[in-house]
Amino acid sequence: MKEIIHATGLVKRYGEVVALDGLDLSVREGTIVALLGPNGAGKTTAVSVLTTLIEPDEGAATVAGIDVLSDPAEVRKLIGLSGQYAAVDQDLTGFENLDMIGCLYHLGRKKARSRARELLDRFDLADAADRPVKTYSGGMRRRLDLAGALVAESPVLFLDEPTTGLDLISRRELWGLIRTLVDQGATLLLTTQYLEEADRLADDVLVIDKGKTIAHGTVDELKDMVGGERIAVKVTNRDDLPAAHEILGRAAVGELQGDERSRTVVAPVSGGTRELAGVLEAFESHRVRISEVVLRRPTLDDVFLALTGASAESGEETPPPAKPGRRGRGSR
């Protein structure tokens, strides 16, 4: 399959903060690729470079074979972007917003109008089409913003955290919509800090941290990279955490991950349910009270923890396995 987004060695600095630190990226035509990383990993910056919004300090990128730096105007004709916050005009109605975007894509008046109505129907906004956007709910605004990215039926779509801040129901709805887009042949690069989102949508996942790609593969490949199963135990009393570390340490085949605040310790294991029974017995005999225990396949969060020592969803470091010498993260 043809490669449609290609970037090598992207570097972008904001003063002291390095937002992109030599990012490489490749997306094949007709696939969904997720950029997964915590806040400040450089996801938005990467999308901004690829959509011509900012120029990188170093590196090169092409979209559909067109150089993003030397010919941004051509690139803009081929892309649709939906940003982190809804980039729609609050005072305009849903219809007026999409109509305006269509005109600015130079579809022509008539085509812009019919396309706007069509998208409003498809995104379940037809009833609200002629109401100012400021009366919309958060989920409706997001849907409208996403519709804005689709007005010109652009072959390459960029969705920057399309579901951040949405409740679970709206998020599921949006996932369904996003998937139908790619069924129609578009290529999609999406950024997310939700592991479940990458899991549900993406063919390929690029895990990025501190402006660099640290892992790349399908969701299953990434999970296999970490391997095995996990036992996660939540203790009732914080004082029991050292004991939990000790017990699980004996059963673990790799490094433990602990989180003091949630009073949880996670251990990679190889013995499945038999191991679990043994662990429970050990907790019992040490009189350590447990409020929750799970045996599960690794999640992307485990992948992320294993790779960086930090949790992807919270963007916070977990004390025990943290590597020394971490740099501070910027807002981008």
Partner: protein, 267 residues
């Protein structure tokens, strides 16, 4: 990007701005009330105190208020742009294959429509308090066109300012400091000849004076006994005003567009 498609994109943005004006009419109402208030204040409070030899102060005054109002109205351009730059919609615009000049051009264009509305309301208020056009209708029309042209040029200055300030509030305060003296040290409310020497020279070469002088002449509102102006700009007010308007547009339009591109890139 050719000129025609830039024009088309600008008109799309202008249409959007006008829809917004219609939808949030409080701004328009507020901005319209202040010139009406000015007409009434000057006509009834100062009207009896300020004496114009051989003529009516109210008639003398109207051109001044027209001039001052359209110049003040240009602040609207800058504030609108400053506000736009804070909104998420700008990100959308930047990712679209539209002309880079469209946002600024569209804003100045929609403000022409806005000025037409303002001038209509003010002219009506003026007619009610006794102002009349004494010259030909064609001349009066030329007077309104000159007001619109000059206002359009000041819009571009304000556009540049609006793109250079951190927030719309800053723009309102900053422009006030410049526009107030510019419109008062002029022949807007009193004849330039009556000002003390330094101010008088400033007033005579101030393009707002020549604008007001030209409009006064075109409306036929120069008092019959008024002395012939001593300075060249006020003797040839139409030429001098058009010259300034073109000069301002030629300098500030490219600066404002360039500024927009730079600001848009940074955020």
């Amino acid at each position: 990007m050719n000129f025609l498609s830039a024009l088309g994109d600008g008109l799309v943005i202008a249409r959007r701005n006008l829809i917004k004006l219609k939808r949030v009419p409080d701004v328009l109402v507020f901005v319209l009330l202040s010139p009406i208030m000015f007409v009434l204040l000057f006509a009834y409070v100062f009207g009896s105190a300020i004496d114009i030899p051989g003529g009516s102060y109210r008639e003398f005054l109207m051109a001044g208020i027209f001039g001052q109002t359209v110049v003040f109205g240009a602040t609207f351009t800058g504030a609108g742009l400053a506000e736009d730059m804070q909104k998420g919609i700008i990100d959308r615009f930047r990712s679209l294959p539209m002309s880079r000049a469209a946002v600024v051009f569209g804003r100045t264009a929609s403000d022409v429509v806005y000025n037409i509305i303002t001038l209509t309301v003010m002219a009506t208020a003026g007619l009610i308090v006794g102002w009349r056009v004494r010259g030909s209708l064609l001349d009066a029309l030329a007077g309104f066109l000159l007001l619109l042209l000059f206002a359009y040029s000041v819009s571009w200055i304000m556009a540049l300012l609006g793109l250079s300030v951190p927030s719309p509030e800053v723009l309102n305060n900053a422009s006030f400091i410049v526009i107030f003296p510019m419109t008062f040290i002029a022949n807007t409310f009193v004849p330039a000849e009556s000002l003390p020497s330094v101010l008088r020279v400033f007033a005579e070469w101030n393009p707002i004076s020549s604008l007001v002088q030209a409009v006064r002449e075109l409306f036929g509102n120069i008092p019959p006994g008024a002395p012939e102006p001593a300075s060249w700009p006020l003797q040839n007010p139409v030429v001098y005003t058009v010259f300034w308007a073109c000069l301002i547009i030629a300098v500030f339009a490219p600066l404002a567009v360039r500024r927009y591109v730079r600001v848009a890139k940074k955020s």
